[in-house]
């Protein structure tokens, strides 16, 4: 079947036909052919944030991974102790390739350390609280951190260790901030639950504890940027050029004190909507800080995001400075696009990664003339696909209910609306999408495939059907895709490359994709598309 004549509906059928009936029925709801919005502006619904079917090989991780690995991972001076047996702490030990830049040589950086209680049988049987307390005291003696976080693994909740009580006691005993996260791996349906648990904890225990604002006229927080491969450094460079002060990033290149005074910013700029939109909402309710969705992946997207920030502050000098910086940077970017584009134009990409990357990186491909023919998230929710418009219609299931929603009220002393309601309305009328996100589908072509929580099997079938020029996912998918003769780009840790954010990052990414799409290495490879033995049907028990 030639790529040109493949109907997306046929592809969808081909992806699910080998599954047993029950699994096929469920997967069919998670695989959607993108269509234009209906009269009310709704995209076709996609089943997402639902439990992974047992036995399929999923890309997804767990709640602990989302909390300890993703959100707390890039914070250099909160000492995180994993309470549990050895595996989880080991596997989350710097594996995400986050980077950080302490302000001085002797400033603390605990990211190279993986602390854990390494629970043994005795701890499981008789409880691990005692060991946890000892471990915290020990960690304090050695490192003298400002704050200690405790991250729970599966056994902790099951044996009933009260890590929050331990945190309270130790906070009192040591006189530093100690807080705990009940992010046991079985909670929620993916790492997304862990992001939520982590952000709730940071919001409750850290944000708002230091009131002195940093200097600067235009103060923002950057939410949902995790400094993989140095992305945050490039964004920081650009913001500085524009004269915009970054109060705190959640949580790339972040520190405890930045979190503590995040409430002194005047705008929240949200990168990864999935992992942190609730933090934006909570800070708006409690402190009166509005938020906008930004995207610093893609040169045009970066320029657009800077303009949105300038528009929000409404300062003519800032607007002008942003235009200058953008014009200057874009001239260099365009030169590379012109060089690369003749080789990349018309090629196709697939992106199956994360909770926002599968959306953001389409920008970069578009800029060099490549089409995204299929994309989806590992752990996105419906609003990340269909836009926040669907939020009122999302059914809350038992898994979501188990993740605490904080009851947030305006802070009696610190709540300060940053702009009067009329001004916000006026900004909206001028097209500034305050508190809005349209989702991934809005930016994808009609007839493209949108697939939630793609499985190992579907990945292989998709490759066979579409033979994309570049497939983007993570290291778990990397080698199976390359075995099939398709160039593969890791968008979790960038194949040890990057940064790809901002203007300089965009240039680096174009060159990388150019290299990948043009390499002659594949002429040595005979791809396995010729054969396709279909399994015969078995009848399921029960």
């Amino acid at each position: 079947m030639a790529t040109e004549t493949l109907r997306p509906e046929d592809a969808k059928r081909a992806l699910t036909e080998a599954y047993p009936t029950k699994a096929a029925r469920k997967r069919a709801k998670q695989i959607v052919v993108n269509a234009p919005p209906d009269a009310e502006g709704f995209r076709p619904p996609i089943l997402s944030n639902t439990r992974t079917t047992p036995g399929v090989i999923t890309q997804r991780g767990c709640s602990y991974a989302g909390c300890k690995g993703v959100i707390l991972g890039p914070v250099r001076d909160i000492l995180t102790i994993t309470h549990g047996p050895v595996g989880c702490g080991f596997y989350s030990w710097l594996t995400r390739r986050n980077q950080t830049r302490p302000p001085s040589e002797d400033a603390p950086n605990y990211m190279p350390y993986a602390l854990m209680t390494d629970m043994q049988e005795n701890d499981i049987v008789f409880g691990g609280e005692k060991k946890l307390r000892k471990a915290i005291r020990e960690a304090y003696e050695i490192f003298r951190p400002k704050a200690i976080a405790i991250a729970a693994t599966c056994p902790v909740g099951l044996i009933g260790d009260d890590i929050h009580a331990v945190a309270r006691d130790m906070k009192e005993e040591l006189g530093i901030n100690v807080f705990a996260f009940s992010c046991e791996g079985y909670k929620g349906v993916s790492q997304s639950a862990g992001h939520h648990i982590a952000n709730n904890g940071i919001f409750e225990h850290v944000v708002g504890t230091r009131d002195e604002p940093p200097g600067g006229k235009f103060r923002i927080n950057l939410l949902g940027e995790y400094n993989i491969g140095g992305d945050a450094f490039e964004i920081e460079r650009i913001l500085e050029l524009c004269g915009i002060t970054l109060v705190s990033t959640f949580s790339g290149n972040a520190s405890y004190d930045q979190f503590a005074r995040a409430h002194t910013a005047d705008l929240n700029a949200v990168m990864c909507h999935r992992s942190i939109n609730y933090m934006a909402e909570m800070t708006e309710e409690k402190y009166g800080i509005p938020w906008i969705k930004v995207n610093f992946i893609g040169a045009e997207a970066t320029a657009k995001s800077l303009r949105k920030i300038a528009q929000y502050f409404g300062d003519p000098d800032l607007v002008e400075r942003v235009e200058q910086v953008t014009a200057d940077e874009m001239s260099r970017v365009r030169a590379v696009i012109d060089e690369v584009r003749p080789r990349t134009e018309g090629k196709t990409a697939m992106l199956f990664v994360g909770g926002s990357r599968a959306h953001h990186y389409q920008e970069l491909f578009r800029e060099i003339g490549m089409r995204t023919v299929a994309a989806g998230y590992e752990f996105g929710h419906r609003d990340d696909y269909e836009g926040r418009k669907v939020l009122p219609f999302i059914k809350i299931d038992a898994d979501s209910r188990n993740i605490e929603e904080l009851d947030v009220e305006p802070d009696p002393e610190r709540y300060r609306p940053r702009k009067p309601p009329e001004e916000l309305e006026a900004l909206r009328a001028q097209g500034l999408d305050l508190g809005e996100y349209e989702g991934l589908m809005a930016d994808m072509e009609e007839g493209s495939l949108v697939i939630d929580d793609i499985t190992h099997y579907e990945t292989e079938r998709l490759i066979e059907l579409y033979r994309p020029d570049v497939f983007c996912a993570g290291i778990k998918e990397k080698y199976v895709i390359q075995k099939h003769g398709i160039p593969m780009k890791q968008l979790h840790n960038y194949d040890y490359h990057g940064p790809y954010a901002g203007f300089r990052g965009a240039v680096r990414f174009y060159r990388e994709i150019d290299r990948m799409a043009s390499t002659r290495i594949w002429r040595h490879v005979t791809p396995p598309w010729a054969q396709d033995p279909r399994p015969e049907t078995l009848r399921q028990a029960s």
Binding site: G87, A139, N402, K476, T526
Partner: protein, 457 residues
């Protein structure tokens, strides 16, 4: 003697060991047509895949029963059944290796009976259809390290598949967690003695395979299940590693259950340990060591002589899984390196005795030997030892970097260098590779530090 190995800390900082089910998954990958399956939270499968894949740079599919909060309370049976069914239909495995995780072990869920009931039901509904074998193993991470998980999975595979029968002339070779390249070499040398041996398990092809020319839901290669079946009828089991003779190990199980003679040997790293290994093969085959293997030995000794002056006076630390730690200690000691410190995250209690035996007569003073340690402790305890070399995994890199000394990467995990699957340390040939790497690491260090920058060394 140095003081006994007692962990100085309650907490673990930068562990030297991984979790039990990871070892089990690695063992399962070494049996033909096998899909590893973790009964627990899906994060376990994802984390372990991530680690195995970044070491081997090969696809590693590990299925999961994806238990959630509800299953943690009411039991994971239905998820296990559904998960097995989906693996059977989509991947058509010959064997599924189910390992438990912290979650299922904490709630005390024994997967064996659940699996048996499910398979019986399936067989009833699909008469005449060959269903996969499902092997289960208990691997709680609070009960041991990844090496223990590996051993338990090998034993579970044998317990599930090995059958009695008239004794054959074939051998079982239990190599432990060896690299694909080492496994290939072991198979070559055993064959060269005219011996027929089943390597159990043998992930050399599944974890170091070619580009695919056909759709392969389960990568080809591995020990055929038939060879596991025949393991109970083998003439003898040659088991490698310092726990090879342990009463709870797979080799002892074959001996106790089927009367298969167990020949435990240390990992053949270095001349002396390799000599022992080849002596056993000579005895089993009744043939002398083949000429090309003797030539490898000769070249190795020649290399030892040629490079000895580069090695004299170098003090080294070894941080590795216990089997490897013993092998490396013996090897380093025999090439004239002073092994000052040997550490492992394992905790079998066998390390000190095994290191003593491996280095007997070779060291002026015995090394400090530590079990159940983490890298934080290793760093604390070795700071003043005047080390010039570290031999260990990628996790030892920060330590080597801090001290400005070379790290020779051996073992698992190696995620900052290419070609871990093709790295050899076993036999004369593997030792030769290792020896060259050690010498060159020291030469490179000297050259880079030299103000003159000599080009001839």
């Amino acid at each position: 003697m140095p003081e006994s190995a007692a962990p100085a800390f309650v907490s673990t900082t930068n562990a030297c060991h991984l979790c039990m089910p990871l070892g089990a998954c690695l063992a399962f990958k070494g049996v033909e047509g096998t899909v590893p399956f973790l009964h627990g939270s899906q994060g376990c499968a994802t984390y372990m895949r991530r680690y195995l894949i970044s070491h081997y740079r090969e696809p590693v599919a590990i299925a999961s029963s994806s238990l959630g909060e509800r299953q943690a309370v009411f039991g994971g049976g239905p998820n296990l059944r559904q998960g097995l069914w989906n693996v059977i239909t989509a991947m058509r495995p010959r064997v599924i290796g189910v390992a438990t995780t912290c979650l299922t072990e904490t709630i005390g869920e024994e997967p064996g009976p659940l699996v048996e009931a499910f398979l019986a039901e399936l067989a009833g509904k699909n008469p005449g259809v060959t269903l996969p074998r499902v092997v289960t193993v208990r691997t709680p991470s609070f009960g041991g390290t990844h090496t223990e998980g590996f051993r338990r999975a090998v034993r579970a595979l044998l317990k599930a598949l090995a059958r009695p029968g008239p004794a054959g002339s074939h051998l079982n070779l239990l190599p432990g967690m060896a690299s694909p390249a080492d496994l290939r070499h072991l198979k070559d040398v055993v064959r060269a003695f005219g011996l027929e041996a089943a390597v159990i398990p043998d992930p050399s092809d599944p974890l170091d395979g070619p580009i695919w020319d056909a759709y392969t839901p389960v990568p080809p290669g591995g020990t055929p299940p038939e060879a596991l079946q025949a393991a109970g009828r083998a003439r003898a089991t040659v088991a490698l590693g310092c726990m090879a003779g342990d009463a709870s190990g797979p080799g002892a199980w074959l001996r106790d259950r089927f009367g298969v003679e167990l020949l435990p040997l240390p990992l053949p790293v270095g001349l002396r340990a390799s000599d022992r290994f080849f002596a056993v093969l000579e005895e089993l085959s009744g043939r002398p060591t083949p000429g090309w293997v003797r030539a490898q030995r000769g070249r190795l000794v020649d290399a030892y002589v040629d490079a000895h002056k580069y090695l004299a006076g170098v003090r080294a630390a070894v941080v590795a899984d216990e089997d490897l730690a013993v092998g490396l200690s013996g090897f380093l000691a025999e090439i004239g390196v002073h092994v000052a410190y040997v550490a492992t995250g394992d905790r079998s209690g066998s390390l000190e005795g095994a290191v003593d035996a491996a280095t007997a007569g070779l060291l002026r003073e015995p090394p400090a030997v530590r079990e159940e340690v983490d890298y934080y402790t290793v760093a604390e305890e070795t700071r003043d030892l005047g080390l010039g070399l570290v031999v260990g995994t990628s996790k030892a890199y920060p330590l080597a970097r801090d001290w400005g000394i070379p790290l020779v990467r051996v073992g698992f995990p190696i995620h900052d260098r290419f070609g871990a699957a093709r790295q050899r340390v076993l036999g004369y040939a593997g030792t030769q590779d290792l020896f060259d790497r050690v010498v060159n690491a020291l030469l490179a260090q000297q050259q880079e530090a030299s103000a003159v920058g000599y080009g001839y060394l």
